[in-house]
């Protein structure tokens, strides 16, 4: 027993059993998975390097954003990278171990006219086995969406939960000279204009079910709410009561909408059916009540109110009348967004330097700033899996869209140059 005495001194374990030594490892040495993403190779002789390069670019961007991986530079790849070996029996895993890789993506493509086939594989280099394999068949124009879909599968294989990359982000852009509604991929590509209102469009929200979008437009001379089917382009004016009809947000089941109306002269939050009938007047205060955001269970709504002076975030019980204040610090807190898992609420706080994005637990504890520095970072919205947050920022002088991880790391601009990009909303899985 006595000979173990020195170990206790060495290791300083306050809670160690007096009788024995024990080793505590309080963080992994490698906190990213070393990943090699090879360029896909032609499967039928027709070489289209630009196809391989684009697929590689898409998945590398997605997987880098995930924060899970450390990407191994292509320059260090050895012979196996240029061999079309897609079976775990044929892959030279020894080579990849030598480079320190623990995960490996290989694949092949075949282009026939407009048609494209992609085979993509994710291997575990350490255990030398296939983790996930996917075959995609479609048009060459679909290549980016195939890449995003595969990246989603890679995340599923390594975390158990699918990624959010094959989704869309809706936003308001002014590239035509009017504020219209647009759609882009999560990496800012494939931009499509959805509306031609030649007016002002604001604050889109995706229906959690079906490819439908809710937004505010001044097209008929008043801020009204519209619903639009994205594929068919069909559109209907949803709420066009006197005064404001803004900030519509679908409940997680898509069956009810919370919105701000000022039909009685003061901005209050109402719950509306899909037929626009008012189910409930949720708030009733002399102050301004705007910006509702549903809890994922649909039992509570976070919103902004200046009932106690400055704009702050409150949470209302949907069933009862109970309203509690969420944010205690800061003079101006706005645009709450409840995370899809329900554990945190993101919002924007105005301080001396401008707006920055924070998250807080729904019980008001553990408030954390996610963004820092000059410029205004506003309108946080969660990815459907809660891993990422999209937001608008004017830190470069242009109103642009950015994505970061839910812990504030990995922020990057996604919108291209030119014009304004505001009011992002993240679609559910597409």
């Amino acid at each position: 027993m006595a000979r173990y005495g020195w170990i206790i001194v060495v290791l300083l374990f306050a809670w160690c059993l007096p009788a024995g030594a024990q080793v505590v490892i309080s963080a992994p040495g490698k906190q990213t998975i070393p990943l090699a993403v090879t360029d896909f190779l032609p499967m039928d002789g027709t070489t289209r390097p630009e196809v391989a390069a684009e697929f590689n670019e898409v998945i590398s961007w997605d997987l880098d954003l995930s924060g899970l991986f450390g990407l191994i530079p292509k320059e260090s790849f050895l012979g196996d990278a240029s061999r079309l070996t897609l079976n775990s029996a044929e892959v030279d895993f020894g080579q990849w171990r030598l480079l320190g890789a623990e995960a490996l993506i290989k694949g092949g493509y075949s282009v026939q006219g407009d048609n494209l086939i992609i085979e993509a594989r994710l291997f575990d280099v350490v255990s030398r086995r296939l983790l996930t394999g996917r075959r995609y068949q479609g048009k060459v124009a679909d290549i980016r969406h195939m890449g995003h879909t595969f990246a989603d599968q890679v995340l599923k294989a390594l975390t158990g939960e699918e990624g959010p990359f094959n989704t869309r982000i809706a936003y308001v852009g002014n590239q035509t000279g009017h504020k219209e509604l647009y759609l882009m991929d999560v990496d800012g590509k494939n931009i499509k204009r959805l509306t031609d209102h030649k007016s002002i469009i604001l604050n889109p929200d995706f229906s959690p079910v079906g490819k439908e979008i809710l937004f505010t437009s001044y097209r008929a001379g008043n801020p009204d709410l519209y619903r639009k089917e994205i594929y068919s382009g069909r559109e209907a004016r949803y709420s066009y009561r006197k005064g404001l009809n803004i900030a519509g947000r679908y409940r997680a089941d898509g069956k009810e909408v919370a919105a701000t109306l000022s039909k009685d002269g003061n901005a209050e939050i109402y719950l509306l059916g899909l037929d626009s009938a008012i189910h409930k007047k949720l708030t009733n205060s002399w102050g301004i009540d705007v910006d509702p955001s549903w809890s994922p269970r649909g039992d509570e709504i976070a919103f902004v109110s200046d009932r106690l002076g400055n704009p702050n975030i409150f949470i209302a019980d949907v069933l009862g009348r109970d309203v509690r204040r969420l944010t205690e610090s800061g003079k101006y807190n706005a645009t709450p967004a409840w995370s899809p898992k329900g554990d945190r609420i993101a919002f924007a706080r105005l301080d001396e330097g401008g707006f920055n994005i924070y998250t807080i637990r729904p019980d008001g504890t553990d408030e954390r700033p996610l963004t820092f520095g000059a410029g205004n970072k506003e309108h946080p919205r969660w990815s459907p899996d809660g891993r990422f947050i999209v937001y608008s920022s004017d830190e470069t002088g242009e109103k642009a869209l950015y994505i970061m991880r839910a812990d504030g790391s990995g922020a990057r601009r996604i919108s291209p140059r030119g014009g304004e990009y505001r009011h992002p909303a993240w679609s559910p899985s597409w």
């Binding site: 479609g138 048009k139 679909d142 969406h145 879909t149 504020k179 759609l183 494939n190 499509k192 204009r193 959805l194 509306t195 031609d196 209102h197 030649k198 007016s199 002002i200 604001l202 604050n203 229906s207 079906g210 490819k211 439908e212 001044y218 097209r219 008929a220 001379g221 008043n222 801020p223 619903r227 639009k228 994205i230 594929y231 068919s232 382009g233 069909r234 559109e235 209907a236 004016r237 066009y240 404001l244 803004i246 701000t260 000022s262 002269g265 901005a267 899909l274 301004i288 705007v290 910006d291 200046d306 704009p311 101006y332 706005a334 645009t335 924007a348 401008g354 506003e378 309108h379 505001r422």
Partner: protein
């Protein structure tokens, strides 16, 4: 006089069209979406050619709202940050405006509330509405009939001065009076 009558007629016509468009609404969309598979081909064909859109697009109401003509004789009033209370200067301006309205009994106006770009957009929409309502209510208290003024808020969407300076922000926190055509 004549002009204003024509404007009134057009306004009524616009309202009628808007109402008809509203009534002619299809049942809520959502039931008819058959395809859910990925494909840019489908997306590219959905370039927003909804029939209902065209029906309203012709109406002149848009120009009134986003590019309405300022009426000579009705001045803008300005506000403090995050405030909708009328400053003494604003009251003086509004008194002049009320005088003008009483001298021109056929004039109908839209009272537009605006905010600077700081602050949440949606909160600013509500704030702009309060500014417009404050201006309108003050003029009503001076004897201008309420039915000659309608209010609308544009939040921070139509700044007078798009720059990111204290001066620009001060200019943008305003209420404007636009002619109803």
């Amino acid at each position: 006089m004549k002009m204003q009558n024509v404007g009134k007629m057009m306004f009524v016509a616009v309202l009628a069209v808007a109402l008809m468009a509203g009534c002619a609404k299809k049942p809520a969309p959502g039931d008819t979406m058959g395809t859910t598979e990925m494909g840019t081909t489908q997306e590219s064909s959905q370039q927003d050619t909804g029939f209902q859109e065209q029906a309203i697009q012709e109406t002149p109401s848009m120009e009134t709202t986003t590019a309405g003509t300022q009426i000579m004789g009705l001045e803008r009033v300005f506000f403090e940050f995050d405030q909708y209370t009328l400053t003494p200067e604003a009251r003086t301006v509004l008194a002049n405006n009320a005088q003008y309205m009483k001298e021109n009994p056929m004039v109908k106006v839209v009272v537009e509330g605006h905010c600077d770009e700081r602050g949440s957009d949606e909160y600013n929409l509500a704030l702009g509405e309060r500014r417009a309502a404050a201006a309108k209510n003050f003029m009503v208290s001076l004897g201008v009939p309420a039915d000659r003024m309608t209010i609308i808020s544009y939040g921070e969407e139509i700044p007078l001065d798009p720059r990111n300076t204290e001066d620009a922000w001060a200019k943008n926190r305003r209420v404007e009076f636009k002619a109803v055509r």
